[in-house]
């Protein structure tokens, strides 16, 4: 065996060690990013989540106006945390379309009663079908959809107050 070959194990080990050390010091990013960003919305037609509400379809998004698509649920606690921020976005003139995941009309109504209703319309996604089609992996998540119905941005987790300007900027960008 030639000499250098004896150091091959050490080299391989150093590689593994280096990788492990590097990754250990990286902040762990557990978010699962949707691969749909940049692509058009999938075709869908959700029934209204509230009695007497509007159904939600992908066709709604192709009228030239950017919107937010908020995937949420009344049983989700972080959704309560982001309610004021959605309220603020609504007041800033942003149209927010809601998608309620695995939810009941009475629970939704109660939630909106307590935490405010920023939504222009809410669709019911009882089998998480739209959620899966969007590549979303939890609640809440918020998508920026441009006027042609293209998904421009995905926000994972609840919207904190510092995220509001970011989303507004994304919406402006989608306008152009």
């Amino acid at each position: 065996m030639s000499r250098w070959k004896l150091f091959v194990p050490l080299g391989l080990f150093a590689l593994v060690l280096g990788l492990a050390a590097y990754q250990l010091n990286q902040p762990k990013d557990d978010r699962i990013v949707s691969a749909m960003v940049g692509k058009p919305l999938p075709e869908f037609a959700l029934p209204a989540a509230l009695n007497g509400g509007q159904p939600v379809t992908n066709a709604m998004f192709a009228d030239g106006k950017p919107r937010l698509l908020n995937v949420w649920a009344s049983w989700c606690l972080p959704c309560i945390a982001e309610a004021p921020q959605l309220e603020a976005l609504d007041e800033a003139g942003v149209e927010i379309v809601g998608v309620a995941i695995r939810d009941k009309p009475e629970d939704i109504a109660a939630f909106l009663e307590t935490h405010g209703d920023p939504y222009s319309s809410i669709g019911a996604d009882d089998l998480s079908e739209l959620q899966l089609a969007l590549g979303s992996s939890g609640v809440p998540e918020t998508f920026v959809i441009d006027g042609q119905g293209i998904i421009r941005h995905q926000h994972i987790g609840d919207i904190r107050s510092e995220h509001v300007p970011e989303l507004l900027a994304e919406l402006r960008e989608a306008q152009e």
């Binding site: 004896l6 593994v16 990754q23 010091n25 990013d29």
Partner: protein, 661 residues
Amino acid sequence: MIAEIGLASLWLAAVLALLQLAGGVLAFRTDGTGGENPMGMFIRPAAIVQAFFAACSFVALLYVFAVTDLSVKLVAANSHSAKPMIFKLAGSWGNHEGSMLLWVTVMAFSGALIAALERRLPERMMQATLAAQGFVALGFYAFLLFSSNPFERLEVPAPEGMGLNPLLQDIGLALHPPVLYFGYVGLSVAFSFAVGALLTRQVTPEFARVSRPWVLAAWVCLTMGITAGSYWAYYELGWGGWWFWDPVENASLMPWLAATALLHSISVLAARDALRAWTILLGVIAFSMSMLGTFLVRSGILTSVHAFAVDPERGMFILVLLGIYIGGALLLFGLRAGAVAEGERFAATSREGALVVNNVLLSATLGIVLLGTLYPLLTEAFDVRVSVGPNYFNPVSAIFVLPMLVVMAIGPLLRWRRDRLERVMKPLALLTVIGAVVLAIVALVADIAFLPLVGLALAAILAVASFIPLRRRKLTRVPLATWGMVVAHFGIAVALFGMASESAFSSERLAALEVGETAQAGPWRVTLNGVDPVAGPNWTALEGRLAVRAEDASRTSEPIMMAPQSRTFWAPVQQTTESALATRWNGQLYAVLGNQLDDGRWQLRLWWKPFVTFIWYGGLLIAFGGVLSIIGRVRKDLTRRSVRSRLASRRADERALEAAA
């Protein structure tokens, strides 16, 4: 007070490990330049006293858990006064700090054992070995004392403990980690021997014989640990799976693969004085895999459940230890292995030849598992996330495992040094026929996937092949170690049969039943007789009463009763499913009680898994074979030693007589 005694003992043990290391280094450096360094004489006593203090420390930990001393942080975080005593004790090692303390305690005991008893090797090599052992131990003591102190007090004692996770309140799991740790420690001893051999440039058959029982013991423990862990995951998690190639599972499989390779190459070194450098390298790799496993599990770097991970600082600590020990040993290997002569030669068709093939293929399998386990980590460095699962591991590892199993059937039939295939033609023909017949029958009768099909055929071949080495031998005179090999190889066949059969023939039935209704699962008819609330010491549960009858049995025949539960623990609050198992000789019926639907029906998950139990029977047989080998080897060593000492004393007597005359 007890906790402080425990901590003090730990410090003392650490100091003794330092003494053991320092003594070894001094003795090693001055030796050869004239006379022995007096420090050398401290090494063995230091190892023995160190074990005593480590044991004191561990007993102190057991005590604070037994009395649920809630002023100790670890107890408050992991125990609860309402827990059954056995789980209070098990709780002491069911957490990071406690398990590390258990590790060093066992390690100190192994060190004491070799320090007290092992006299076969040259003293210089023993000193180097014990110094290496002290060095490794020192790192773990430092880890405990500086970043994982199990005896840390709370300023204000907690009013009540946080409880132990209910999934861990299980006797199988209570025993599972310590058994794995014993295995890891055994590999650390083999590692120390390998370093000692490298340092003194004495990679001899004697070195192989001395370290072999440790490798064997480690391998037995790893085998049992994996078997138990797999069975635990199978019945506790409630989905009927027994192996998922999860990073944590792989972390326990990798040391086993390395240890298996080491076990075989060390046999070649002991019997034939060949494969010297390779054996040393495997010794280092085996221990590095056990440390890597510990790192992966403890740092949580791979599973996305990083949030729980003991802070990255601890992961970094283990990583630094890993770098020092394994990096150092591999560096030493690179520098020294060139000077280690290759050893005796042998022909391709020989026992050694077969073992070399086994070693290469095992190492390649290890490489695949390592690659698949670490690859997601690599892509994450580039912000891409990938998953590597069974659909990758199964076929890719089969590339190496299947030929290895074939060689495993043939190898033991060959003679050492050189042999001719013609000599073993008859058994080979027999095995080929068996394999072909099983393959043909199974392929005709059932429509199953390729891998299980080949698995069934190979299992049949191996089952027969493992006993062929016994033919034409007087069974009472076959050495115990040979019996060990036969049993262990047969165990592989049994486990393989179980795995193939489970994956080929399992049938699943998901049913929603009203009370009184019946569902069919495989050849069984399962009737839901009722669902009742029951209460345990720290949980309440809904318990399903299932009456199970064979398909062809009459309606009035005595049924098998099964009682799967859906448990709710209250400290901490958590729901678990307790599956119910009905074990028959030819398989297991597995039942899980799910939720109640709005219409009042109950969800049941039922599986009939033919011969699934053979997986774990096989695991036990493999471990038992290892135990037989250890007994055989150690007994042989003891007789050899007593013969030698008798010879020596007779010679001394003769000399005395001559002198007198």
